[in-house]
Symmetry: C2
Subunit: 109 residues, 2 copies
Amino acid sequence: MQSDKAIAALGALAQEHRLQLFRLLVQAGYDGMPAGDLARAIDIPNSSLSFHLGHLQRSGLIEQRRSGRSLIYSADYRAMDRLVTYLMENCCGGAGCVPVASTLEKEIA
Amino acid sequence: MQSDKAIAALGALAQEHRLQLFRLLVQAGYDGMPAGDLARAIDIPNSSLSFHLGHLQRSGLIEQRRSGRSLIYSADYRAMDRLVTYLMENCCGGAGCVPVASTLEKEIA
DNA sequence: ACGGCATTTCGAGGAATCTCGAAATAACGG
DNA sequence: CCGTTATTTCGAGATTCCTCGAAATGCCGT
């Protein structure tokens, strides 16, 4: 994952309503949830909801499909996987969130 | 970790310069780096650098200590660990969003 | 084709973010 | 003390973000 993609994903999650939405969709699993249910669940106007869903979608974290007159949103687990992997590899010093071995030994010594 | 802390950390990393800074500090290990070196490394004015370092620090991702006339910044690996843990527990459907983790550890070993 | 339901797009206002020069603070050496 | 170096704070301008009502779009049942 390139850092600009990571920034887009981080920015998408760095907002109260969007993080709430994404967590709901993660819980909902592959089936996802229709927009209406989401709006009701977090109690915001439809237009605001749509703005945030669009943001999450543009960042690649969620997907959209149609079912009748409802649009169903679902989390893209692979995108989230790529983000977490990016963070672990680039922002955690390699193995888990622990600095690289050399500096770690220095700290312990 | 509560979601408002997670949002602060995500927002702090969701910016080109700040992500760059944090990655540099992760690489630098516990020793960290002085502000001047950071400004030179990513080529931005000192006042902008200070703005972003302040942001990262307020979000809890980095720490500051003084050494002579230099201020040394270093990554707080535990904060990053908490963020990644939060994402895995709340945004990855429970059972780990990162099947590659095992292969990563293999590479390091 | 028409009416109604689910959702998005548009537009505008207000808030927050980013940038950067200039002035202020802190620490060292002489 | 004074000058120099390292860094932060202040202030203003430009840009982006968030919100939400009103209008538009898409789909379905009749």
